[in-house]
Amino acid sequence: MAIRFEKVNFSYGAGTTLAQSILHDVTLEMPTGQVTAIVGQTGSGKSTLIQHINGLLKPTSGRVTIDNFELTHHTKEKELVKLRKSVGIAFQFPENQLFANTVLEDVMYAPVNFGATKSEAKLAAEHALTRTGVVRELWGKSPFELSGGQMRRVAMAGTLSSDPSVVVMDEPAAGLDPKGQGELLQLVLELKKLGKTIVIISHQMDHVIAVADHVVVMHEGRVVAQESPQILFNRDITWFKTMKLDLPKAGQLAEKLRDEGITLSRRPLTLNELADLINTEVSHE
């Protein structure tokens, strides 16, 4: 499902003296079946942006189209259930949403809410738990007995169990150990293979490079770039400094090499690419 923002403005408490403007004139597109990464410093409006994808927030002006659903200021609360069935959002630290007696019941919550029967929901939950790598022995346990990493997987399964065609994740890897982070990125790629449209917020540029086809850069509530990672990460270094964005590790190393007088023909995105560039371009003296 294609997601399109057209001239979206959003402010909290619109029309009052305390109005706080968060998004300014946001126009962007998140292509179907691809992974779109949203990056930008804290407070740039990323989280506000994604809450428009399933109607938790409605634009103060402008509109968001998600496939053929149109979200504007006037969209009624009742209509949003339809939208939320097809858009799953996993917020930051999603383990804070766990509440049920058992892992399985918690993961069944979404499908039941969206009208599935108990047995359908159970099937969907088992499917989702398997996909996120929660072993069967844990399904009957209380979610509060699990470790942090396991809770995260259960919560992710809780978002995937309603089989949404759009999956949005707000810093899904935050607070996980390196192994957990790797598995999470793997999950994103698997979901993409299933044809899902994926939106992911991340501060780690190496994660962005590992999964994203398309990157949206936010700065002070505005979209300042939307392009492929290859184009984005070859922008001028001063641009990254003004946007307060990091380069991926390989890019940072290449910058250090340049400071030492070793200039490469382009900025590498991965460590392998960096190694190849050094091998072919730097003469051995």
Binding site: T17, L56, R84, I89, F99, Y109, S162
Partner: protein, 268 residues
């Protein structure tokens, strides 16, 4: 969630903002006690005039006060209706079944409403212009005589300060959990009362667990920094009365005297 006004502090530099928090607490307290003696429209007019003057002095948009009044609208309406229907007296205007609407009933209803509104306005002035920690400090200072009879005033004030500090955090947390469960299809607006009550469980359980976790974290953080109860502690901010507080107390005394003068001369 963002429109809950009870206990919200809005920073500013008005006259009222600059008063010592103890002054504000005493004025609020005395004012509320005194206004309970109001008995005719002249005394109500005088108490109302005092509040309006105070509201003006806080230099905040009136909308903030209106937001403070909204949550208790139904409570006010309920009491007003009770007063209307159950005040005996003459002349009787008309009857609704076994109930009689009388002229004293209507007057009483108006008075009760005015009383409610004034009390809320006055306490909103206090919370709107005073940071929660200052309220806790003021309370500690005002209650300190009770230390002599063994009341752990400092600990109570600390508990109050922590509780007040947690209110916005928990509100924030609540909003986040609500967003997460709404994304998973939770709906408050459908189904009967039992279904609606059940819909709250997925909010409350994560909220309580989060609150307990935060409390434990805070307790640990305090302990590793050497916190002990029942020790004499110094304060970072020392409360002291200024000239402006003397003016405020003078105004309060003036208010009380004029109130009782109006009341005795025009007693009705």
């Amino acid at each position: 969630m963002n429109n809950i006004m009870i206990g919200r502090f809005v920073p500013g530099n008005s006259w009222i903002h600059r008063l010592d928090p103890r002054t504000k607490m005493i004025v609020t307290f005395v004012y509320i006690i005194v206004m309970l003696w109001a008995s005719n429209w002249q005394t109500y007019a005088w108490t109302a005039a005092f509040v309006v003057a105070m509201v003006k002095l806080t230099d905040q948009p009136f909308k903030l006060y209106w937001d403070g009044l909204k949550p208790i609208f139904w409570l006010i309406l309920f009491t007003v209706i009770l007063q209307l229907l159950f005040t005996p007296g003459t002349p009787i205007l008309f009857s609704v079944g076994p109930f009689q609407v009388t002229v004293p009933g209507i007057l009483n209803a108006i008075y009760v409403m005015v009383r409610f509104v004034l009390i809320i306005l006055m306490s909103t002035i206090l919370t709107l212009t005073t940071p929660p920690t200052s309220i806790a400090n003021a309370l500690e200072s005002l209650l300190s005589p009770l230390k002599k009879i063994g009341v752990p005033v400092a600990e109570l004030a600390l508990m109050l300060a922590i509780a007040l500090r947690f209110v916005p955090l928990l509100m924030d947390e609540m909003q986040k959990i609500m967003n997460a469960q709404k994304s998973r299809g939770m709906s408050f607006s459908t189904g009967g009362p039992i279904k609606r009550a059940k819909a709250i469980i997925p909010l409350l359980i994560p909220l309580f667990i989060g609150a307990l976790q935060r409390a434990l974290d805070l307790a640990n953080a305090m302990e590793v920094r050497g916190f002990k109860d029942a020790v004499q502690r110094t304060k970072y901010r020392i409360l002291s009365y200024q000239k402006i507080d003397k003016v405020a107390f003078a105004a309060l005394i003036g208010f009380v005297i004029i109130f009782f003068v109006i009341k005795t001369w025009l007693h009705g």
